[in-house]
C-alpha cells in the first residue's frame, strides 16, 4: 500500500509552534540521569588548561596548513594543504563555536567570548542570532515548531542533504540574513527567539562582518587573485563537509517531539583526531542532558550515565549504517524514526512517543 508523504510544518511561526505549547512540549521538563550532586559538581568544574592547549594547537595547525598552502600555491600540493586548512577553518570551528557559546570551554569568560566570535565568523553563524537559536535548541530539542536547528526535517530532502556538505544551502541563507541585519532588520522567525534587547548587537556584528568580507574581496580584486578568499570566506564552504558528517549523527533519523534526550540524541565514539576536531561533541546525549559539563569532562560523564543510556555507536560508520537507511525510509514514510533501546539497568523513557502530524 503506498504511503502518502506528509510534510510537517517545522516553521517557528507555523501551526506546530502553538501545537507544541498546547501539548506541553515547549519549555518542558526533560529527563535527567540520576547522577549524585557531588559527582556532577566535579564534572562541571571549569578549567582553562585543556581549551587553551587545544585552541593554540588549532591555531598552529591553521597557520601550518595555511602556510603550506601559500608556498605551494599554483601546484597540486596546495590542494591537500587547503583541504586540511578548510577542515580546520570550516569544520573544527563548529565545535569551538558550540562549546564557547555555552561558556564551558574556558573557565575565564572573555576567552570563551573571543573564541566564540572568531569561530562564529569562520563557521558562518552570526554570533548573537545563533546563540539564541542554540538556546532554543537546548530548551526544545527536536520539538517541531520550536527548535530552529532541526537539521533533517521530515520527509528528508535527500537531494538537498549533499548540498549541506559544502554549505551550498546554509551559506546563501546566512549571507542573506547578514545583509538583512546590516539594514537593521530581522527575519520573522528570528524575532521569535532573539529578545529585543539583543537586536542592536545583531546589527552591529553583521556590519562588522560585511566590512571584513568587503575588505577581503577588495584585496582579492586588487591583487588579481582568489587567494585571500581561499583563506577567509571560502573555507566556510569548502571546509564544511566534516562538520556536516559529524553534525548529522547528533539527531538525524531519531524521534521528534519527545522529552528525553536518550531518544533524540546519539552518542558516537570517535578516534582522537575526530575528538580533537569535534571537541567531544560525539557525546551528544551527555551534552544535551547536562550542558554545564565542559567538553573535556564528557567522557567521564558518559561513564557515569552509561548504565542509564542507550548503547553508544562505535564510530561514524556504525552511526551512518543507521542514519542513511533511516533517512531513506523517512523520505517515503515520514512518521518512521529510529527507536532507541535502553539497557535493563536504565530508567524508562520519559514520555510516550508522539505521532507525527499532518501539516
Amino acid at each position: 500500500m503506498p504511503v502518502e508523504s506528509i510534510k510537517r510544518d517545522y516553521s517557528l511561526i507555523g501551526v506546530n509552534s502553538n501545537l507544541a505549547e498546547e501539548r506541553g512540549l515547549a519549555s518542558a521538563h526533560w529527563y535527567a540521569a540520576p547522577i549524585p550532586r557531588k559527582r556532577l559538581k566535579e564534572l562541571m568544574q571549569r578549567r582553562n588548561g585543556p581549551a587553551i592547549f587545544h585552541t593554540l594547537l588549532w591555531f598552529a595547525l591553521l597557520i601550518i596548513t595555511g602556510g603550506i598552502g601559500y608556498y605551494t600555491w599554483g601546484t597540486w600540493w596546495c590542494v591537500p594543504a587547503f583541504m586540511a586548512y578548510g577542515v580546520l577553518y570550516g569544520s573544527a570551528s563548529d565545535s569551538r563555536w558550540h562549546e564557547c557559546g555555552h561558556g564551558t570551554a574556558f573557565k575565564t569568560p572573555w576567552m570563551n567570548d573571543v573564541v566564540y566570535q572568531m569561530a562564529s565568523f569562520m563557521i558562518l553563524r552570526q554570533p548573537t542570532p545563533w546563540r539564541w537559536s542554540h538556546t532554543r535548541h537546548h530548551t526544545d530539542t527536536i520539538i517541531v515548531g520550536r527548535d530552529p536547528e532541526i537539521a533533517v526535517p521530515r520527509p528528508p530532502d535527500l537531494w538537498g542533504i549533499p548540498l549541506k556538505f559544502f554549505g551550498l544551502k546554509s551559506g546563501p541563507i546566512e549571507y542573506r540574513k547578514m545583509i538583512l541585519h546590516c539594514f537593521g532588520k530581522l527575519a520573522a522567525e528570528e524575532k521569535t527567539f532573539i529578545p529585543e534587547g539583543e537586536h542592536p548587537k545583531v546589527f552591529r556584528v553583521a556590519r562588522i562582518w560585511a566590512v571584513i568580507y568587503a575588505a577581503v574581496i577588495a584585496l582579492a580584486i586588487a591583487r588579481h587573485t582568489i587567494m585571500p578568499l581561499v583563506y577567509i570566506g571560502l573555507p566556510s564552504f569548502y571546509g564544511a563537509w566534516l562538520m556536516v558528517i559529524f553534525g548529522l549523527t547528533q539527531h538525524a533519523g531519531l524521534a521528534e517531539d519527545v522529552l528525553d534526550h536518550r531518544l533524540n540524541c546519539r552518542t558516537v565514539y570517535m578516534n582522537p583526531i575526530f575528538r580533537f576536531l569535534y571537541w567531544n561533541m560525539g557525546y551528544h546525549v551527555e551534552h544535551h542532558m547536562f550542558p554545564m559539563v565542559p567538553y573535556h569532562a564528557l567522557p567521564a560523564l558518559h561513564e557515569e550515565m552509561e548504565a542509564d543510556s542507550p548503547r553508544p555507536y562505535h564510530g561514524l560508520w556504525e552511526a551512518y549504517r543507521e542514519i542513511i537507511p533511516a533517512l531513506w525510509r523517512q523520505a517515503k514514510e515520514p512518521t518512521y524514526f529510529v527507536q532507541r533501546q535502553l539497557p535493563p539497568s536504565a530508567a524508562p523513557f520519559q514520555a510516550p512517543l508522539m505521532k507525527a502530524d499532518p501539516a
Binding site: 550532586r37 555555552h102 564551558t104 573557565k107 538556546t135 530548551t139 534587547g197 539583543e198 547536562f290 550542558p291
Partner: protein, 112 residues
C-alpha cells in the same frame, strides 16, 4: 515566621560553593553558600528558562543555570551572561545557631 524571616535549612546542609533548593508554600528559592562561608538567597528559578537554579553550578559568586548556561551573580541578583537577561530577586539571609533564615517579605532586587 517572624518579620518575614523563615527557616530555610541547616547551614551544614549546603556545601561550600554550592546551592540547594528551598520551597516555601508555592514559592521556590535557591540558597547559596560561598567558599568563604557566606550565605545568600535568590528566587529559585532562572529568569530565562524557569529552570531550578539549585541544579546549576556555583563558581565563586556566580550561579550558572543548568539548562542554558545563563549566569547570575547571586550576591546581587544581576544577570551576568545571556540568555539570562533579567536579574534575579535576592533576599536577606541570616544565620543563627547554624540555621539559615531567609526574609522573604523583604525583596531587595525587583528589576523584572
Amino acid at each position: 515566621m517572624n518579620d518575614g524571616w523563615i527557616r530555610a535549612c541547616d547551614a551544614g546542609e549546603i556545601e561550600r560553593e554550592d546551592v540547594i533548593r528551598f520551597d516555601y508554600e508555592d514559592r521556590t528559592f535557591a540558597v547559596y553558600r560561598t567558599k568563604d562561608n557566606r550565605f545568600y538567597a535568590t528566587d529559585g528559578l532562572c529568569t530565562h528558562g524557569r529552570v531550578h537554579l539549585a541544579d546549576g553550578f556555583v563558581m565563586d559568586s556566580i550561579i550558572e543555570c543548568p539548562k542554558h548556561n545563563g549566569q547570575f551573580d547571586f550576591t546581587t541578583g544581576r544577570a551576568k551572561r545571556t540568555p539570562a537577561c533579567v536579574d534575579l530577586r535576592i533576599y536577606p539571609v541570616k544565620v543563627e545557631d547554624d540555621q539559615v533564615f531567609i526574609q522573604i517579605g523583604n525583596v531587595e532586587n525587583c528589576s523584572l
